[in-house]
Symmetry: C2
DNA sequence: CTGTTAGCGCGTTCAC
DNA sequence: GTGAACGCGCTAACAG
């Protein structure tokens, strides 16, 4: 049987209450007493039973998820995954609230975050907009001991505890190698469709993509980036225009709004053999992969990201460790053969 | 506050003990009383607090993992992941035992399984050897209410509750498409290195591989399979011999023993541009991917498989549901750019 | 500063 | 058949 609070109380010659105070770092214990208890804990190899503690406390974990109010399949999917987590709340003792903020709007994000410091959630998960003001509030909240994880898009250089998302530079590099290898000896131009160069994850994907292209596929030239604002209509127009260029042999779509891309491809390039790599598996991209309009899809598993964020925030709230390998968000590569 | 046993006892006008008898399907309750309690449970939307129940019972989950005693990196890794899980046992209330059996030996596996029915573990995870005798014992154990999941290699047609592993047909198909697309317009022959055609996962990979090759890459011909018995020495010899054939343009290694493959490639094909796809990310395959000896690695995450098996066995033991998406074992595709 | 005591939600003796 | 009472490991009043 593993040791309990009773055992260490007996070993240290104190009462349960004192042991509890030491365990929970509460004040009101003399230095000597505290040390006695701490040695007893170490000697007996005591491990606290978190489940029992939570039962006694009636503890729940109030968590907040902050998402951009973007109207694209990926964000809808992310939202749905969080709502799934809400359904599991009773079993997981979580109490999850979703807050939507205007996309690409640092000021809005900042004001939401500031409001949060009053209502004391025990953890915050946020899709970060990469701006100095945001970094500043996040750092302040972390100093005030709020656990914060960034979701999908990171806030580099901030004090956030963790980033639950894929390595976007690696994603861009991978896209470049797939495109380059699939094209083989063909020479030509590559169009890149992004959402906005103001978002960190898109910038990083482009950076990785351009690096590998330059290093390893000098026969392929990258055209100026098309910014589709993650909007299917805008994307459609931009891609349809670009396809007027007969030298294009491949396309890398590193953001959302792929619905527009796919429509443009079917209208303007049905007779051409373009090689296309896109991000995010949705109903649209899946269908396009199956009918050979798209050649490969890079994906991040939104469900995994949400579950991971929750596990990490809970662990942080309890001061516990996580299984690092379990929290690594993989870059999924889908060809038409390994679709889920 | 969600309802507790007290609430439903009050609602049904009975005592706690009676509620408990109903909840745990124990005898000694009149039909009418049972019904009263059951309606109260449904009306109040009662959900049992598993953590509290486990606390009261002092419950632990005795689990058994049965593995082949194979001396290759993948099995070593799988073993290590289980030992990691053993370290987490106190927190997860598990009590895990690893049993090694001779590889490819149905009789040994059967006798271990039969021994298990005496010691009553609350769940069994096993790397299955695909044989009728094994299927028979597994089915018997399942009927005796032992939760059983297959790990890495499945036992199709048996009553096992779940398979924690990748879809090997999809893996083979994916390998074929990668090889075919990477080779582009090149024509030639493809060598296939397997462990043994007696193991189900290897057969399935080959099946998927051959199917896509035939359908979509008619210019590439598959040579007769080389059976390396997952042994680096044997693999080395076979591949070195095969490379005498100048028509070979690609290699698919669908089993273990890649150390030998890699050595043969460096010795005999340093000057040739072969395209190589292999399975399982290990120290050796990782290095070979980085130095361009291998072009892509297909991988299954052993840590995920082990954690998933544990979650599923625990859930089955408690009669609870799992998050299906979380338990799907992905086929990881690694290029040199997205290595973990 | 420290100890006593009464729960948290559930399972399990025992009597009745 | 049914119920009262106690304990699981831990926390939180409230005394002292």
């Amino acid at each position: 049987m593993r040791p309990t609070v009773h055992d260490i109380a007996a070993a240290a010659g104190v009462s349960l209450a004192t042991v509890d105070r030491v365990l929970n770092q509460r004040p009101g214990v003399r230095h000597v007493t505290r040390e006695k208890v701490e040695t007893a804990i170490r000697d007996l190899g005591y491990i606290r039973d978190v489940a029992a503690a939570n039962l006694a406390k009636g503890r729940t974990y109030p968590l907040v998820f902050i998402l951009p109010a973007s109207d694209n399949s990926f964000m809808h999917g992310l939202n749905a995954e969080i709502r799934q987590a809400v359904l599991r709340s009773p079993a997981e003792r979580t109490d999850i609230r979703i807050i939507e903020v205007p996309a690409f709007d640092p000021a809005a994000l900042v004001s939401v975050l500031e409001g949060l410091s009053r209502e004391k959630p025990c953890g915050i998960a946020m899709v970060a907009t990469d701006a100095p003001e945001v970094r500043a509030v996040v750092d302040r909240l972390v100093r005030e001991r709020f656990p914060i994880v960034t979701l999908v898009s990171d806030l580099t250089g901030s004090l956030r505890h963790h980033y639950a998302g894929v390595d976007n530079i690696a994603a861009g590099r991978t896209a470049a190698r797939l495109l380059g290898r699939f094209l083989g000896p063909r020479k030509g131009e590559i169009a890149v469709l992004a959402g906005s160069m103001l978002v960190r994850d898109h910038r990083e994907r482009l950076e990785g993509f351009a690096a590998v292209m330059a290093e390893e596929f000098p026969d392929l030239a990258i055209l100026p980036v098309l910014e589709g604002r993650d909007d299917p209509e805008v994307a459609h127009r931009l891609v349809a225009d670009a396809l007027g260029n007969a030298g294009i042999v491949g396309i890398y779509s590193l953001g959302a709004g792929n619905r527009g891309l796919i429509r443009a491809l079917k209208e303007k390039a049905a007779d051409r053999t373009l090689t296309v790599v896109a991000h995010e598996l949705t109903a649209h991209t899946r269908a396009a992969l199956i009918d050979n309009t798209i050649d490969a899809i890079l994906n991040q598993d939104a469900g995994h990201e949400v579950r991971s964020a929750i596990r990490i925030l809970k662990a942080k709230a309890d001061g516990l460790a996580v299984i690092a390998a379990q929290e690594r968000i993989r870059l999924d590569i889908f060809l038409k053969d390994n679709l889920p």
